[in-house]
Subunit: 321 residues, 2 copies
């Protein structure tokens, strides 16, 4: 038995591979089989992380195990889906038992937290990279997409922004900070918590949603484009963590919140009538702007002046024709 | 807009990304949405191909496009599933328009041939590798697995064996051959045809099935282990192509058929009562052995003597306890 077959057996025996609701056949055959209840659809998303590009190499394999799955499951949260299963395609330059065990521990922990079962995948030799494909179920026609935002809706986010971008100099060893600052920022980076409950609570209420992975302004641009609307973002409404502001200062913290990636909190648009009940239920919703006629994204200061950064990477605002 | 976002748009506009039966939402949102009809299950499989490991680098991107999808869809054939959709995680060191266009042409052609729609994926920078996740539908409880073989069943394959292994010296430029020999071998290697029709025809008839990717003896070992049976393979019944025999000679051709990988024809076990009707329907079924009590795989010569190669990589035969 080759070493890569041993790895397959290792993952097949992992706690997260022991079936689960909706998994009719798990690891070990040519395909896994998923059961989708009547009246539901299957949501599917694929994400790749490459060593040296999406994470530092070397890095802590336990943290990588957590983060690699969380990043993928966050796309299920963005659709309002309930996680069911995932596949893991793991490419490794060498096989190291310690590395694999630590990686699997991180993976198991995040899988348990998100309620997903490992149902298959592939293990190959090559430069370190990971591709996760995640599966969730959602009542037919109720998935949250990017394309339903309406002029007049509120623009909201599900949590603090910029923490992962703030953590990057710590992750890369370029800066240090006291634990009171470093720990919360690094936790956001390495162990993002997919907003699954919020996504499900927004079904039938939010008019559009996505998870913030490329940065707030860039991702708002995706909603604006798909929904054919304009989005106004008010800089002074951005939720910033005390640790981020203490680490970067207020101005750079705002920049991290606007353009930094890897936040994995939800951005969504909501008719204002829906807001009170969601807040009363305790969901962490921050209103950061509104939807208008037009196309693209505009950043406003407290005086309502356009202070949109003139950089590439997202869709600038223009009036409706 | 970054170059990798341009690539995503390029694939989103590809013919194979234009929806299809069972695709409720295709490329362009956080997730795709698949509809699974009542009474059916979703079959899922993931395969990774790494440059320099699973294919020569550089290689013809058109052929790689065909092969990368065919290899993955073959797992759907092995379950008796009907292909629906796939995701593509493509990691590229550099972005070259010619390469991408040729790759996408190959991908489109195989996608059309197999009836699958591209519904999502990821495009990242890094060493060249491809991970495909494929989705198919199968009536609940009717998927072909590896675990149902019964003593007394026939052991069968769905076509000639060893052609892809025979092609390898040609692919790697280590040998040459006249077109009458090289062309059919290379076609098997670069453009394997997933046996989707055969897999579906075997539903409710075959007691176990898989596709041959690691080599006949190794893959028979997987069926033997999952089904808790012994498999006897008769060397002189192995179907060999005239091109393979002419290229390698009879003895090496048999070795390629027994141990060479990448055949992507189905291996399956069948109660003998099912054979006549399947043959009458024109399915290319070759009986190569039988299922017995015991555990593992034994290779027999024409005199019924055990000539199992004493190498690692598959399960040797032993009597039942």
């Amino acid at each position: 038995m080759g070493e890569f077959e041993l790895i397959r057996n290792f993952f097949a025996a992992a706690p997260c591979a022991q079936g689960g609701e909706g998994v009719a056949l798990g690891i070990g055959d040519d395909c896994a089989l998923l059961a989708v209840p009547q009246g539901e659809q299957l949501a599917v998303s694929t994400d790749t992380l490459v060593a040296g590009v999406h994470f530092a190499d070397p890095c802590d394999p336990f943290l990588l195990g957590q983060r690699s799955l969380a990043v993928a499951v966050s796309d299920l949260a963005a659709m309002g889906a309930t996680p069911v299963a995932f596949t893991l395609a793991l490419t490794l330059p060498t096989v190291t038992a310690d590395w694999l065990q630590a990686y699997a521990r991180g993976l198991n922990q995040m899988a348990q937290s998100c309620g997903v079962a490992l149902v298959g995948g592939d293990t190959t030799r090559g430069p370190l990279s990971l591709t996760m494909t995640v599966f969730g179920r959602v009542p037919s026609g109720q998935a949250l997409t990017r394309s339903g935002a309406q002029s007049g809706d509120l623009l909201c986010v599900g949590g603090e922004l910029g923490n992962a971008a703030g953590a990057l100099p710590l992750v890369l060893g370029q800066r240090t900070a006291p634990a009171s600052i470093a720990d919360p920022l690094l936790a956001h980076y390495w162990s993002p918590q997919p907003q699954l409950g919020l996504g499900q609570a927004l079904r039938g209420k939010a008019t559009s949603a996505m998870d913030i992975s490329d940065g707030l302004l860039a991702d708002c641009g995706h909603i604006a484009l798909a929904s054919k609307v304009g989005l106004l973002v008010e800089r002074d409404l951005l939720p910033l963590s005390p640790a981020l502001v203490a680490f970067l200062g207020p101005s750079d913290a705002q920049s991290a919140a606007l353009s930094g990636g890897d936040d994995y909190v939800l951005a969504f648009t909501l008719p204002s009538v829906e807001l009170p009940a969601l807040l009363a239920d305790g969901w962490p919703i921050h209103v950061i702007g509104r939807v208008v006629n037009g196309q693209g994204v505009m950043l406003l200061n407290a005086d309502g002046q356009d202070i949109t950064p003139q950089t590439r990477g997202y869709q600038h605002f223009r009036e409706s024709p």
